[in-house]
Protein backbone atom coordinates (compact mmCIF):
# COMPACT_ATOMS: atom_id res chain seq x y z
CA UNK A 1 0.00 0.00 0.00
CA UNK A 2 1.13 3.52 -0.77
CA UNK A 3 1.79 5.71 2.24
CA UNK A 4 -0.47 8.41 0.84
CA UNK A 5 -3.31 5.94 0.52
CA UNK A 6 -2.77 4.82 4.10
CA UNK A 7 -2.87 8.42 5.34
CA UNK A 8 -6.18 8.91 3.53
CA UNK A 9 -7.62 5.76 5.07
CA UNK A 10 -6.41 6.88 8.49
CA UNK A 11 -7.92 10.35 8.09
CA UNK A 12 -11.24 8.74 7.18
CA UNK A 13 -11.06 6.03 9.87
CA UNK A 14 -10.45 8.48 12.69
CA UNK A 15 -12.62 11.18 11.10
CA UNK A 16 -9.76 13.63 11.54
CA UNK A 17 -10.67 17.27 11.11
CA UNK A 18 -8.24 18.90 13.52
CA UNK A 19 -5.32 18.72 11.03
CA UNK A 20 -5.33 18.99 7.22
CA UNK A 21 -3.03 16.07 6.52
CA UNK A 22 -0.96 13.35 8.14
CA UNK A 23 2.63 12.26 7.78
CA UNK A 24 4.82 9.69 9.51
CA UNK A 25 5.76 12.00 12.35
CA UNK A 26 2.22 13.18 13.18
CA UNK A 27 1.59 12.28 16.82
CA UNK A 28 -1.74 10.47 16.68
CA UNK A 29 -2.23 10.43 20.43
CA UNK A 30 -2.07 14.23 20.50
CA UNK A 31 -5.00 14.57 18.10
CA UNK A 32 -8.29 15.43 19.74
CA UNK A 33 -9.91 12.66 17.67
CA UNK A 34 -7.75 10.00 19.32
CA UNK A 35 -9.82 8.45 22.10
CA UNK A 36 -10.80 4.96 23.25
CA UNK A 37 -13.29 4.64 20.38
CA UNK A 38 -10.59 5.67 17.90
CA UNK A 39 -8.65 2.57 18.92
CA UNK A 40 -11.65 0.40 17.99
CA UNK A 41 -11.75 2.15 14.61
CA UNK A 42 -8.06 1.33 14.09
CA UNK A 43 -8.71 -2.33 14.89
CA UNK A 44 -11.53 -2.44 12.34
CA UNK A 45 -9.38 -0.64 9.76
CA UNK A 46 -6.42 -3.01 10.25
CA UNK A 47 -8.74 -6.03 10.01
CA UNK A 48 -10.47 -4.71 6.91
CA UNK A 49 -7.44 -3.47 4.94
CA UNK A 50 -4.63 -5.71 6.18
CA UNK A 51 -6.46 -8.80 7.49
CA UNK A 52 -4.46 -8.56 10.71
CA UNK A 53 -5.31 -8.65 14.38
CA UNK A 54 -3.04 -6.66 16.76
CA UNK A 55 -3.12 -7.55 20.49
CA UNK A 56 -5.02 -4.89 22.47
CA UNK A 57 -2.08 -4.01 24.72
CA UNK A 58 0.05 -3.13 21.67
CA UNK A 59 -2.14 -0.11 21.00
CA UNK A 60 -0.74 1.52 24.12
CA UNK A 61 2.59 1.76 22.28
CA UNK A 62 1.15 3.95 19.55
CA UNK A 63 2.46 7.50 19.41
CA UNK A 64 3.15 8.65 15.84
CA UNK A 65 1.62 7.53 12.56
CA UNK A 66 4.97 5.75 11.95
CA UNK A 67 4.55 3.75 15.16
CA UNK A 68 1.13 2.59 13.94
CA UNK A 69 2.61 1.61 10.57
CA UNK A 70 5.31 -0.39 12.35
CA UNK A 71 2.64 -2.09 14.44
CA UNK A 72 0.73 -3.13 11.33
CA UNK A 73 4.05 -4.51 10.07
CA UNK A 74 3.61 -4.30 6.31
CA UNK A 75 5.80 -2.49 3.80
CA UNK A 76 4.42 0.86 2.77
CA UNK A 77 5.70 2.35 -0.47
Amino acid sequence: MQKSEFYDILMETLEIESVDSLNESTVLTDLEEYDSLAVLSLIAMIDEHFGKRIPGTEFQKITTVKSLMDLIGVDFE
Binding site: D35, S36, L37, I43, A44, E48, P55, G56, T57, F59
Partner: protein, 332 residues
Protein backbone atom coordinates in the same frame (compact mmCIF):
# COMPACT_ATOMS: atom_id res chain seq x y z
CA UNK B 1 -42.76 -31.16 19.85
CA UNK B 2 -40.42 -28.40 20.81
CA UNK B 3 -39.97 -25.18 22.76
CA UNK B 4 -40.97 -21.68 21.72
CA UNK B 5 -40.79 -18.16 23.04
CA UNK B 6 -44.31 -17.24 24.13
CA UNK B 7 -43.78 -13.70 25.35
CA UNK B 8 -41.03 -11.21 26.18
CA UNK B 9 -41.15 -8.13 28.35
CA UNK B 10 -38.58 -5.83 29.87
CA UNK B 11 -38.05 -3.35 32.66
CA UNK B 12 -35.80 -0.30 32.58
CA UNK B 13 -35.08 1.76 35.72
CA UNK B 14 -36.75 5.16 35.87
CA UNK B 15 -33.65 7.36 36.02
CA UNK B 16 -32.28 8.32 32.62
CA UNK B 17 -28.70 9.51 32.14
CA UNK B 18 -28.21 11.37 28.86
CA UNK B 19 -25.01 12.15 26.97
CA UNK B 20 -25.66 15.82 27.71
CA UNK B 21 -25.73 15.06 31.44
CA UNK B 22 -22.48 13.10 31.11
CA UNK B 23 -20.86 15.97 29.21
CA UNK B 24 -21.43 18.15 32.26
CA UNK B 25 -19.35 15.70 34.31
CA UNK B 26 -16.68 15.08 31.67
CA UNK B 27 -15.82 18.38 30.03
CA UNK B 28 -14.24 16.95 26.86
CA UNK B 29 -17.09 14.50 26.23
CA UNK B 30 -18.90 15.46 23.03
CA UNK B 31 -22.54 14.26 23.24
CA UNK B 32 -23.09 14.13 19.50
CA UNK B 33 -19.86 12.29 18.84
CA UNK B 34 -20.73 9.69 21.47
CA UNK B 35 -24.13 9.15 19.87
CA UNK B 36 -22.70 8.95 16.37
CA UNK B 37 -20.05 6.39 17.26
CA UNK B 38 -21.73 4.30 19.96
CA UNK B 39 -25.34 4.78 18.86
CA UNK B 40 -26.20 5.71 22.44
CA UNK B 41 -27.98 8.93 23.43
CA UNK B 42 -29.12 7.93 26.90
CA UNK B 43 -29.17 4.96 29.23
CA UNK B 44 -31.23 3.94 32.24
CA UNK B 45 -29.53 3.82 35.61
CA UNK B 46 -30.76 1.90 38.66
CA UNK B 47 -31.37 3.81 41.88
CA UNK B 48 -28.91 3.52 44.75
CA UNK B 49 -31.00 0.91 46.58
CA UNK B 50 -32.34 -0.81 43.44
CA UNK B 51 -30.70 -4.14 42.62
CA UNK B 52 -30.69 -6.47 39.63
CA UNK B 53 -33.19 -8.67 41.47
CA UNK B 54 -35.53 -5.68 41.84
CA UNK B 55 -35.32 -5.10 38.09
CA UNK B 56 -35.79 -8.82 37.46
CA UNK B 57 -38.97 -8.82 39.54
CA UNK B 58 -40.36 -5.82 37.64
CA UNK B 59 -39.59 -7.40 34.26
CA UNK B 60 -41.23 -10.67 35.36
CA UNK B 61 -44.35 -8.85 36.61
CA UNK B 62 -44.54 -7.09 33.23
CA UNK B 63 -44.38 -10.36 31.30
CA UNK B 64 -47.09 -11.86 33.53
CA UNK B 65 -49.52 -9.01 32.92
CA UNK B 66 -51.83 -11.28 30.94
CA UNK B 67 -50.30 -14.62 31.90
CA UNK B 68 -50.75 -16.81 34.92
CA UNK B 69 -47.48 -16.91 36.89
CA UNK B 70 -48.59 -20.10 38.65
CA UNK B 71 -47.97 -21.99 35.41
CA UNK B 72 -44.19 -21.50 35.63
CA UNK B 73 -42.27 -24.76 36.20
CA UNK B 74 -38.74 -23.41 36.24
CA UNK B 75 -36.98 -20.06 36.75
CA UNK B 76 -33.61 -19.25 35.24
CA UNK B 77 -32.15 -15.96 36.42
CA UNK B 78 -29.12 -14.67 34.53
CA UNK B 79 -27.20 -11.91 36.27
CA UNK B 80 -23.69 -10.84 37.18
CA UNK B 81 -24.94 -8.45 39.82
CA UNK B 82 -26.20 -10.90 42.48
CA UNK B 83 -27.88 -9.89 45.74
CA UNK B 84 -25.67 -12.21 47.77
CA UNK B 85 -22.98 -14.86 47.35
CA UNK B 86 -25.72 -17.09 48.68
CA UNK B 87 -28.62 -17.73 48.53
CA UNK B 88 -29.47 -17.94 44.84
CA UNK B 89 -31.35 -14.97 43.40
CA UNK B 90 -33.78 -17.19 41.48
CA UNK B 91 -34.97 -18.71 44.79
CA UNK B 92 -35.76 -15.26 46.17
CA UNK B 93 -37.47 -14.40 42.90
CA UNK B 94 -39.70 -17.50 43.20
CA UNK B 95 -41.01 -16.14 46.50
CA UNK B 96 -41.31 -12.53 45.36
CA UNK B 97 -43.37 -13.58 42.34
CA UNK B 98 -45.52 -15.96 44.38
CA UNK B 99 -44.67 -18.95 42.20
CA UNK B 100 -45.34 -22.57 43.14
CA UNK B 101 -42.94 -24.44 45.43
CA UNK B 102 -42.67 -27.54 43.27
CA UNK B 103 -40.59 -25.81 40.62
CA UNK B 104 -36.88 -25.51 39.85
CA UNK B 105 -34.93 -22.27 40.16
CA UNK B 106 -31.30 -21.47 39.47
CA UNK B 107 -29.01 -18.59 38.57
CA UNK B 108 -26.61 -18.48 35.71
CA UNK B 109 -23.69 -16.09 35.87
CA UNK B 110 -23.10 -14.89 32.34
CA UNK B 111 -23.11 -11.47 30.72
CA UNK B 112 -23.66 -10.64 27.08
CA UNK B 113 -24.09 -14.30 26.04
CA UNK B 114 -26.52 -15.01 28.92
CA UNK B 115 -29.79 -14.83 27.01
CA UNK B 116 -28.57 -17.38 24.45
CA UNK B 117 -27.42 -19.77 27.18
CA UNK B 118 -30.69 -19.27 29.03
CA UNK B 119 -32.60 -20.24 25.89
CA UNK B 120 -30.39 -23.33 25.47
CA UNK B 121 -31.11 -24.40 29.05
CA UNK B 122 -34.82 -23.68 28.74
CA UNK B 123 -35.06 -25.71 25.56
CA UNK B 124 -33.23 -28.64 27.20
CA UNK B 125 -35.45 -28.55 30.30
CA UNK B 126 -38.55 -28.63 28.11
CA UNK B 127 -37.18 -31.36 25.82
CA UNK B 128 -36.43 -33.52 28.89
CA UNK B 129 -39.97 -32.98 30.21
CA UNK B 130 -38.56 -31.36 33.34
CA UNK B 131 -40.67 -28.28 32.65
CA UNK B 132 -43.47 -27.22 30.35
CA UNK B 133 -43.05 -23.50 30.99
CA UNK B 134 -39.72 -21.81 31.79
CA UNK B 135 -39.32 -18.22 32.94
CA UNK B 136 -35.97 -16.85 31.75
CA UNK B 137 -35.04 -13.58 33.41
CA UNK B 138 -31.92 -11.59 32.56
CA UNK B 139 -31.04 -8.61 34.70
CA UNK B 140 -27.96 -6.53 35.24
CA UNK B 141 -26.98 -3.28 36.88
CA UNK B 142 -23.58 -2.75 35.28
CA UNK B 143 -23.62 0.93 36.22
CA UNK B 144 -23.06 -0.15 39.83
CA UNK B 145 -19.81 -1.88 38.79
CA UNK B 146 -18.50 1.13 36.86
CA UNK B 147 -16.25 3.71 38.53
CA UNK B 148 -18.00 7.13 38.60
CA UNK B 149 -15.02 8.66 36.73
CA UNK B 150 -14.77 5.88 34.12
CA UNK B 151 -15.83 7.98 31.14
CA UNK B 152 -15.81 5.25 28.48
CA UNK B 153 -17.77 2.65 30.43
CA UNK B 154 -20.25 5.17 31.78
CA UNK B 155 -21.17 6.09 28.21
CA UNK B 156 -21.53 2.47 27.10
CA UNK B 157 -23.43 0.67 29.83
CA UNK B 158 -27.01 0.97 31.04
CA UNK B 159 -29.13 -1.06 33.44
CA UNK B 160 -32.08 -3.20 32.43
CA UNK B 161 -33.89 -6.50 32.77
CA UNK B 162 -35.86 -8.85 30.57
CA UNK B 163 -38.32 -11.67 31.22
CA UNK B 164 -39.10 -14.33 28.63
CA UNK B 165 -41.68 -17.10 28.83
CA UNK B 166 -40.61 -20.24 27.00
CA UNK B 167 -43.28 -22.92 26.53
CA UNK B 168 -43.46 -26.47 25.32
CA UNK B 169 -44.89 -26.21 21.81
CA UNK B 170 -46.12 -28.38 18.96
CA UNK B 171 -43.37 -27.24 16.63
CA UNK B 172 -39.78 -26.24 17.36
CA UNK B 173 -39.39 -22.49 17.84
CA UNK B 174 -35.86 -22.57 19.23
CA UNK B 175 -33.62 -24.35 16.71
CA UNK B 176 -30.04 -25.62 17.04
CA UNK B 177 -27.38 -23.75 19.00
CA UNK B 178 -23.72 -23.00 18.54
CA UNK B 179 -21.97 -22.17 21.82
CA UNK B 180 -18.42 -21.13 22.64
CA UNK B 181 -16.12 -20.47 25.59
CA UNK B 182 -12.54 -19.25 25.92
CA UNK B 183 -11.52 -18.56 29.50
CA UNK B 184 -8.13 -17.24 28.41
CA UNK B 185 -9.86 -13.89 27.95
CA UNK B 186 -11.31 -13.70 31.45
CA UNK B 187 -9.08 -10.82 32.55
CA UNK B 188 -10.23 -8.55 29.71
CA UNK B 189 -13.72 -7.94 31.08
CA UNK B 190 -13.70 -8.23 34.83
CA UNK B 191 -14.49 -6.72 38.20
CA UNK B 192 -11.20 -7.78 39.83
CA UNK B 193 -12.02 -7.14 43.51
CA UNK B 194 -15.00 -8.11 45.61
CA UNK B 195 -15.00 -11.88 45.16
CA UNK B 196 -13.00 -14.34 47.22
CA UNK B 197 -9.87 -14.25 45.03
CA UNK B 198 -9.36 -10.55 45.68
CA UNK B 199 -11.51 -9.05 48.41
CA UNK B 200 -13.06 -5.60 48.08
CA UNK B 201 -10.36 -3.10 48.96
CA UNK B 202 -11.62 0.18 50.47
CA UNK B 203 -8.19 1.70 49.80
CA UNK B 204 -7.88 0.54 46.20
CA UNK B 205 -5.95 3.25 44.32
CA UNK B 206 -7.33 5.04 41.26
CA UNK B 207 -6.03 3.75 37.92
CA UNK B 208 -5.79 6.06 34.88
CA UNK B 209 -7.04 4.33 31.72
CA UNK B 210 -4.99 6.60 29.43
CA UNK B 211 -8.07 8.16 27.82
CA UNK B 212 -9.18 10.53 30.54
CA UNK B 213 -10.98 7.88 32.55
CA UNK B 214 -10.35 6.49 36.02
CA UNK B 215 -11.22 3.16 37.60
CA UNK B 216 -10.00 1.02 40.47
CA UNK B 217 -9.67 -2.72 40.97
CA UNK B 218 -13.03 -2.61 42.79
CA UNK B 219 -14.70 -1.58 39.54
CA UNK B 220 -15.37 -2.89 36.08
CA UNK B 221 -12.36 -3.17 33.80
CA UNK B 222 -12.91 -3.62 30.09
CA UNK B 223 -10.03 -4.02 27.66
CA UNK B 224 -12.02 -2.65 24.73
CA UNK B 225 -9.45 -3.41 22.01
CA UNK B 226 -9.03 -7.04 23.13
CA UNK B 227 -12.79 -7.54 23.42
CA UNK B 228 -13.23 -6.16 19.90
CA UNK B 229 -10.48 -8.48 18.62
CA UNK B 230 -12.30 -11.38 20.25
CA UNK B 231 -15.65 -10.49 18.69
CA UNK B 232 -14.10 -10.03 15.22
CA UNK B 233 -12.74 -13.55 15.57
CA UNK B 234 -15.61 -15.35 17.32
CA UNK B 235 -18.82 -13.85 15.96
CA UNK B 236 -18.41 -14.56 12.23
CA UNK B 237 -17.50 -18.16 13.13
CA UNK B 238 -20.44 -18.70 15.46
CA UNK B 239 -22.84 -17.26 12.89
CA UNK B 240 -21.44 -19.57 10.18
CA UNK B 241 -21.58 -22.53 12.54
CA UNK B 242 -25.15 -21.97 13.71
CA UNK B 243 -26.32 -21.56 10.11
CA UNK B 244 -24.58 -24.82 9.20
CA UNK B 245 -26.09 -26.65 12.18
CA UNK B 246 -29.52 -25.49 11.11
CA UNK B 247 -28.80 -26.25 7.42
CA UNK B 248 -29.51 -22.63 6.54
CA UNK B 249 -27.87 -19.78 4.68
CA UNK B 250 -28.12 -16.05 5.27
CA UNK B 251 -30.95 -15.98 2.71
CA UNK B 252 -33.10 -18.17 4.96
CA UNK B 253 -33.01 -15.55 7.71
CA UNK B 254 -35.62 -12.84 7.98
CA UNK B 255 -33.76 -10.94 10.66
CA UNK B 256 -30.62 -10.91 12.80
CA UNK B 257 -30.23 -9.58 16.34
CA UNK B 258 -26.78 -9.43 17.94
CA UNK B 259 -25.95 -8.43 21.46
CA UNK B 260 -25.83 -4.63 21.33
CA UNK B 261 -22.26 -3.99 22.50
CA UNK B 262 -21.99 -0.61 20.83
CA UNK B 263 -23.09 0.57 17.40
CA UNK B 264 -19.61 0.71 15.94
CA UNK B 265 -18.68 -2.86 16.87
CA UNK B 266 -22.03 -4.36 15.92
CA UNK B 267 -22.14 -2.59 12.57
CA UNK B 268 -18.57 -3.65 11.78
CA UNK B 269 -19.51 -7.28 12.51
CA UNK B 270 -22.55 -6.93 10.24
CA UNK B 271 -20.39 -5.69 7.36
CA UNK B 272 -17.70 -8.32 7.94
CA UNK B 273 -20.23 -11.17 7.97
CA UNK B 274 -22.19 -9.71 5.07
CA UNK B 275 -25.60 -9.33 6.71
CA UNK B 276 -27.90 -7.00 4.74
CA UNK B 277 -28.56 -3.76 6.61
CA UNK B 278 -32.33 -4.12 6.33
CA UNK B 279 -32.22 -7.48 8.13
CA UNK B 280 -30.09 -6.24 10.98
CA UNK B 281 -31.02 -4.74 14.34
CA UNK B 282 -29.05 -1.84 15.75
CA UNK B 283 -30.71 0.11 18.52
CA UNK B 284 -28.86 1.31 21.59
CA UNK B 285 -30.20 4.86 21.41
CA UNK B 286 -32.17 4.91 24.66
CA UNK B 287 -30.78 1.94 26.58
CA UNK B 288 -27.05 1.61 25.86
CA UNK B 289 -25.41 -1.76 26.41
CA UNK B 290 -27.59 -3.55 28.95
CA UNK B 291 -25.47 -6.73 28.85
CA UNK B 292 -27.71 -9.83 29.03
CA UNK B 293 -30.85 -7.78 28.32
CA UNK B 294 -29.93 -6.32 24.90
CA UNK B 295 -31.14 -9.27 22.79
CA UNK B 296 -34.56 -9.64 24.48
CA UNK B 297 -34.97 -5.84 24.42
CA UNK B 298 -34.31 -6.06 20.68
CA UNK B 299 -36.70 -8.98 20.19
CA UNK B 300 -39.49 -7.21 22.03
CA UNK B 301 -38.92 -4.07 19.97
CA UNK B 302 -38.96 -5.76 16.56
CA UNK B 303 -42.04 -7.81 17.49
CA UNK B 304 -43.93 -4.74 18.70
CA UNK B 305 -42.91 -2.72 15.66
CA UNK B 306 -43.98 -5.51 13.30
CA UNK B 307 -40.43 -5.71 11.89
CA UNK B 308 -40.48 -9.40 12.83
CA UNK B 309 -43.73 -11.34 12.51
CA UNK B 310 -45.07 -14.76 13.30
CA UNK B 311 -43.33 -17.38 11.19
CA UNK B 312 -40.18 -15.31 10.67
CA UNK B 313 -36.75 -16.87 11.16
CA UNK B 314 -34.44 -14.83 13.38
CA UNK B 315 -30.80 -15.44 14.23
CA UNK B 316 -29.73 -14.22 17.67
CA UNK B 317 -26.16 -14.09 18.96
CA UNK B 318 -24.57 -12.94 22.22
CA UNK B 319 -20.85 -12.57 22.98
CA UNK B 320 -18.66 -11.08 25.67
CA UNK B 321 -17.47 -11.52 29.24
CA UNK B 322 -15.88 -14.90 29.93
CA UNK B 323 -15.15 -15.05 27.05
CA UNK B 324 -18.46 -16.68 26.33
CA UNK B 325 -20.50 -16.61 23.15
CA UNK B 326 -23.38 -18.34 21.47
CA UNK B 327 -26.02 -18.17 18.76
CA UNK B 328 -29.27 -19.83 17.85
CA UNK B 329 -32.06 -19.48 15.32
CA UNK B 330 -35.61 -18.73 16.41
CA UNK B 331 -38.78 -19.48 14.50
CA UNK B 332 -41.13 -16.81 15.75
Amino acid sequence: MGASIKKIDIYLPETVLSNDMLSQEFEDLNSEKVEKRTGIRERHVSAENETALDLAERAARNVFEHEDPVSVDFIILCTQSPEYYLPTGACILQDRLGLRNNIGALDISLGCSGFIYGLALAKSLIAANTARRVLLVTSDVMTKHVHPKDRANRTIFGDGASATIIDKSDSEGILHFSLGTDGRGYRNLIVPNGGLRHRYDPDAPDIDDGFGGIRSENHLYMNGPEIFNFTIDAVPKVVADVLEKNKMTMDDLDYVIFHQANKYIVDYLRKKIGIPKEKFYINLLQTGNTVSATIPIGLKYVLEQGIVRSGDVVLVSGFGVGYSWGATVLRI
